[in-house]
């Protein structure tokens, strides 16, 4: 079977460009690039219909490595470039590549507006909790106390919770995945691409040079089960290899044991990705995993909502105006309302 699949995949054209990939050896970005390439290949959409727009940072080199259309723009501004591109080109598949510094610090203003407008784009937010390209300063997602080159005594900043920010900005597709779980990432990428509107995936990505092991507790085999919660629509929130679940006590999520028989799966919080109130709670499962009794970190599609996209509404107005005003001509607009003759 694997041979057959392998051969079929080979037959499809590669989406890789001819450029040498220049991330540090061991960087989590390689895995993300691989999964995106695999998904594009599997879906088989013509390369020319795909556009990758990025900002600045390690992750933002991404577009150079794919044989699609691509723009490596300026720091933090990819959402604005995407918004303009989308307004005039609703026919394309648009992907935005950004990082924690690019999206949440210098581009913070743009990303919240992209989300509230619901521009149709797949946003891959590579979160490594550090500034890599500038060699190791703390980022807006670095935990408080993080010791970095710019914070020798520890960061005094409270970090962003990216998914809670996304929920607050009324994002219509909110998901989390990680570089070390390729299969999960591919599933989420496919879902994000299928969603009409702004799909944001926060991807935990290891920077092995400046912040190695930042997410190890979630990705390492030994600790992963106890600290991660993989959510699926319609299924109860169970983690730690079926040993634990999450029950809602009013508005408060509680970890319960499924081992002693006092609580069954039926008593647990069942994930409904369309429930915006529960989604607001779910994005708040953001405990420091080192804390005693910490709630597990959720991964998967946390929230989905249907809302018309910005470009749909914009173009509907253009169509309505064309219809209402009938046949137009440039001469009519140059003439405007009132004119007079001088003879």
């Amino acid at each position: 079977m694997s041979t057959t699949n392998g051969t079929m995949a080979e037959a499809k054209p590669s989406y890789a460009s001819d450029q040498e990939v220049r991330w540090c050896p061991g960087c989590g970005d390689y895995s993300i690039l691989k999964q995106v390439e695999t998904v594009l290949k599997e879906q088989g959409r013509p390369k020319e219909e795909i556009v990758f727009i990025s900002g600045i940072g390690c992750s933002s080199r991404f577009p150079y490595y794919l044989d699609t259309y691509g723009m490596h723009s300026i720091h933090g501004r990819a959402p604005a470039i995407v918004s303009g591109l989308r307004s005039v080109r609703p026919d394309l598949s648009v992907w935005m590549i950004t990082g924690d510094g690019d999206a949440l610090s210098i581009g913070g203003n743009h990303i919240i507006h992209l989300l509230r407008r619901n521009v149709d784009v797949n946003i891959l937010l590579f979160n490594n909790e550090i500034y890599g390209l500038t060699k190791g300063q703390y980022s807006p997602t670095s935990p408080e106390g993080a010791v970095t080159r710019s914070t020798p005594m520890g960061s005094t900043d409270h970090p962003f919770n990216p998914l809670a920010l996304c929920k607050g900005a009324d994002g219509t597709f909110i998901a989390r995945s990680m570089d070390r779980d390729p299969k999960h990432m591919r599933e989420i990428l496919v879902r994000a691409d299928a969603h009409r509107g702004a799909s944001l995936i926060e991807i935990y990505q290891n920077c092995n040079v400046f912040n190695d092991g930042a997410f190890e507790v979630f990705t390492d085999k030994k600790s992963k089960a106890a600290h991660t919660l993989f959510v699926e629509h319609g299924k109860p929130l169970i983690f730690d290899e079926g040993r634990k679940g999450i029950r809602l006590d009013g508005m408060t999520p509680m970890v319960v044991s499924l081992e002693d028989g006092s609580v069954s799966a039926d008593d647990l919080w069942v994930h409904d990705e369309r429930d915006q109130f529960k989604a607001s709670l779910l994005v708040r499962l953001f405990d420091d995993p080192a804390k005693e009794g910490a709630l597990p970190r959720p991964f998967g599609v946390i929230y989905v909502a249907d809302r018309p996209t910005h470009e749909e509404k914009m173009n509907a107005q253009v169509d309505a105006a064309k219809k209402a005003k009938g046949v137009w001509s440039l001469d009519a607009i140059l003439q405007g309302g009132r004119t007079w003759e001088i003879s």
């Binding site: 723009m71 303009g84 307004s87 394309l92 003759e341």
Partner: protein, 618 residues
């Protein structure tokens, strides 16, 4: 009632300045009277001048709004140096504007606006009474209680006092129409349109308009009426246009001629917002307007739209342009079409938002990191705003480059008659789209044609996939390159491409004056009218003075250097401290002298004339 005997005096041209509280409807009164005169066949030029506050405290100097109209039976080029008539709704309006009235000019004053409270609010000393104490003896003063007469005209209506008082400006408009021998048909038609859905308000405004007219007709105080005959304007069909409207229409026309959709990304800012308002009305042309979250998003969205194959445009004023700087560098590096309009206002920083200035020239030409040449062009009149917006778009599209168009608050809000062109009169625009590629053929996104222009390849076209960005790129392929020699080559290629845009400019033409002589006045932008008026006056006085008005600020017209050599003196009037002058001195080693004003106000022609005389008589 018997109509008093009247003489009608002919006037060649008249400058009338309406002033009052910013809530008095001054702008409306002024623009209505402008409209009536334009329709009659006069040439007109206007200068709306308002405070930065929407409703500054009533009765104070800070709250005075003004509208200056110059109309004539001859061509007029500015809104006028000094007013012949000053219409004031209150004491503050008089105090703020008396200096702009000619000695022996006419003052029409609403006496109700001169009570003790109004006089105190604008700082007249206790007991002062300018309308009656003889301090205005050099002027002809017509004081009338506009408020009282407006209320009287509306005695029978059920409108509240506040609504009645809102009709005051119509009394003034009616009176002024009488004074200049105009009928009320145009104003009535305007009211009918404006208040079609509010019959009671319409009726009230008409009554007051008529009351103002009749007051002139019946009151024996007024022994003289004036008449300004039609001007010998070129034959044709006209409309009125402001600079901001001109820019909007120029962009729509250019996009249409290029066969592209127009995308306009912008963030509200005075005095550029009217471009957004105007474009938002034209969605039927496929115009997409995007009110972005900030100035940076405004330009970046326009870059995104251009990348997608539309004509991306953004506009702002100085502070907003400052925020767009980094993205301007990106657009220049990507080499994609983009039009950036700067409707300049008084700076620096927030500066004088509602006032005019030309102090962003250096910002436009130099304001970027690295060597980032961008063509800069400037509009000189409201009508020219149309032409230059069209030109900016044509240059941007055909040469694959961002282009900066400079306008300013004076021409943005001022209006004039426009003998609008037919769409077929406009030149065509040819986007340099990349030709289709055969399978397997390598596409080079930065391979240049003989003008140094790269092809425009947009997403969706098979075989042309490529990656572009702000990093230095290898010549031809566009791949990232840190090669030192390649970098220098690319800097030169980009610079040459922009320099060669000058190949497309039409030959340098004088605005007026002999081909050689004692003095060449070199102007740019909205100072055109004042310089033109001054130059014509000097020529009539027998001086060998010429005027050239630059449209292209960067690169310069190749004819400029040789032209300047033909005159003994060069004078550069600017509403800044000498930005063009310094560029000319640096580029051409000429001893250009300046005539500079940085008051947030346009030049008076007399100021330019005086500076010229000083040089000529030195």
């Amino acid at each position: 009632m018997e109509t008093p005997t009247r003489t009608i005096e002919q006037r060649q041209n008249v400058v009338i300045l309406f002033a009052g509280d910013s809530g008095d409807g001054i702008q409306l009164t002024g623009s209505q009277f402008t409209d009536t005169n334009a329709l009659f066949g006069n040439d007109v030029s206007t200068f709306p001048n308002f405070p930065a506050e929407i409703r500054a405290p009533q009765g104070t100097l800070a709250g005075v709004s003004g509208y200056q109209l110059h109309f004539g039976s001859v061509e007029v080029f500015t809104a006028g140096d000094q007013a012949d008539v000053l219409v004031v709704m209150n004491a503050a309006a008089l105090k703020a504007n008396l200096g702009k009235l000619k000695k022996s000019g006419i003052i029409i004053a609403n006496s109700d606006g001169f009570d003790a409270r109004n006089l105190r609010l604008c700082g007249y000393p206790e007991g002062a009474d300018p309308l009656n104490d003889g301090s205005l003896a050099h002027y002809t003063v017509h004081a009338m209680d506009v408020t009282k007469m407006t209320r009287a005209a509306l005695e029978d209506t059920s409108l509240g006092m506040k609504e009645k008082d809102r009709c005051k400006n119509m009394f003034v408009l009616g009176f002024v129409n009488w004074m200049y021998s105009r009928d009320l048909a145009n104003s009535e038609r305007f009211l009918q349109q404006k208040f079609a859905k509010k019959p009671e308000v319409l009726e009230a405004n008409r009554k007051v308009l008529l009351a103002g007219y009749n007051y002139g007709e019946t009151s024996e105080t007024f022994t003289t009426r004036f008449e300004v005959k039609p001007a010998p304007m070129p034959k044709g069909r006209y409309r009125a246009i402001s600079g901001n409207q001109g820019i909007a229409l120029g962009l729509v026309a250019a996009a249409e001629k290029a066969g592209l959709d127009l995308f306009y990304g912008s963030y509200p800012i005075t005095p550029a917002s009217d471009i957004l308002h105007e474009l938002a009305k034209h969605k039927q042309f496929g115009v997409r307007t995007f009110q972005a979250e900030d100035e940076i998003a405004a330009i970046c969205s326009a870059i995104g739209a251009s990348y997608g194959g539309a004509l991306g445009v953004t506009a702002s004023s100085g502070p907003g342009i400052a925020l767009k700087t980094e993205a301007l560098g990106l657009a220049m590096m990507l080499e994609i079409p983009l039009v950036v309009v700067n409707v300049q206002r008084g700076g620096p920083s927030t500066g004088l938002p509602t006032k005019t200035e030309q102090a962003d020239l250096w910002q436009a030409i130099h304001g970027r990191n690295g060597e980032a040449p961008i063509p800069v062009i400037a509009a000189s009149t409201p009508v020219d705003c149309f032409e230059m917006a069209f030109e900016a778009a044509k240059l941007a599209i055909e040469h694959m480059t961002p282009v900066i168009l400079l306008s300013d608050g004076y021409i943005a809000n001022g209006s004039e008659p426009w003998r609008f062109p037919q769409a077929s009169d406009l030149s065509s625009i040819h986007p340099p789209f990349a030709p289709k590629h055969a399978d397997g053929e390598i596409f080079l996104p930065y391979q240049r044609d003989d003008r140094g222009v790269r092809p425009w390849a947009m997403p969706g076209v098979p075989g042309l996939q490529h990656r572009i960005g702000g990093l230095e790129k290898e010549d031809g392929t566009g791949n990232v390159s840190y090669d030192p020699v390649n970098h220098e080559k690319m800097v030169r290629l980009r610079s040459d491409k922009v320099a060669r845009i000058a190949d497309t400019f039409r030959p340098m033409r004088l605005a007026s004056g002999p081909a050689e002589g004692d003095l060449l006045i070199v102007g740019w932008g909205s100072t055109y009218g004042a310089i033109h008026t001054a130059a014509m006056a000097l020529q009539q006085e027998g001086y060998a003075v010429s005027h050239v008005h630059l449209r292209h600020m960067f690169p310069f017209n190749r004819g400029l250097g040789p032209l300047m050599k033909k005159y003994r003196h060069i004078l550069v009037p600017e509403l800044n401290s000498g930005q063009l002058r310094q560029l000319l001195r640096a580029e051409y080693l000429v001893d250009a002298k300046g005539c500079n004003k940085v008051q947030g106000m346009p030049f008076m022609a007399e100021e330019v004339r005086a500076a010229a005389l000083q040089l000529l008589n030195a």
